[in-house]
């Protein structure tokens, strides 16, 4: 499983509309941007209270980045 698929799986398990979850990966100059798209009504579920869920996912990506020597950025879109 790749990092992109990890984000996808986490998101799917949190939302109601798992069919509408998608993640695209874009290589930018110094970082890899992961764009997570979910249904509008599920936005709160992937962001969490006071942004806790999104922050936890970002922390997990930081750890993966440490291992792989990469800088992952997570963007959440509806």
């Amino acid at each position: 499983m790749e990092v992109k698929e990890l984000v996808e799986q986490i998101a799917r398990s949190l939302v109601d509309n798992s069919d509408e979850v998608s993640v695209t990966e874009e290589q930018e100059e110094r970082s890899i941007v992961l764009e997570l798209r979910v249904a509008q009504e599920d936005l709160g579920k992937v962001i969490g209270k006071q942004g806790r869920t999104a922050r936890a996912v970002r922390t997990i990506l930081t750890a993966a980045g440490r291992k792989l020597g990469k800088d992952f950025r997570l963007q959440i879109l509806e």
Partner: protein, 232 residues
Amino acid sequence: MENFKEFQGRDLQDALSRAATELDRPERDLDYEIVSEGRKGWFLGMGSRGFQIRVKMARPAAYETPPEDGSVEILESLVSDLLEGMQMDMDFRIQQEDGCLRVNLSGPDREFLIDPKGEILNAFQFILTRMSRRNFPEHIRILVDSDGFRKKLDEEIVQMARDAADRVRQRGEPSRLPPLNPYERRLVHTALRSETRVVTRSMGEGFLKRISIFPARGGSGGSVNDGRRRRP
């Protein structure tokens, strides 16, 4: 098997707030019955007895029959997916203990999962809890550790609180700890409850709050604490 724990306070509100602090659950979620409404006492409160409540501990049915509900297997597959997705070369073991599921991670990539404040393990634990919520009862607590790292962190927090309590006693001035999460605050409240001449109180709103330690008159911490409200 029903499981209860009794709490005492000056009145119902006080007893409930103590129970909430100790159990780290919001007051409104407590399922309790009143054991004794206490009595006022004769003179300056001497001989007064506390208001006593009996709180039902959160023990859903799944607690009593853990092997069959499949929660360990579900958790195993979630942990293994997370580790794989994070590209970590790690093994893990899941243990059932006190109604908790403890996940211990160990292996060559441990260094990537450890940071000074334990934020990565916390995030791992948080996401794991969220992901599993649909599959098993909410009250099963999932704890993620890596070869005793969390225990060391816990000890550091308790030590910091004890040092601060010493200063409060020496100087007679309150002291404020850095922002802590509910689990960490519970460690501090519990550790300082047995200390003399100080009381603790959480201040602020939200997930992270700061505990203030106040000097208290009198001899033992326990009796001074009586009649004071504390927030978890």
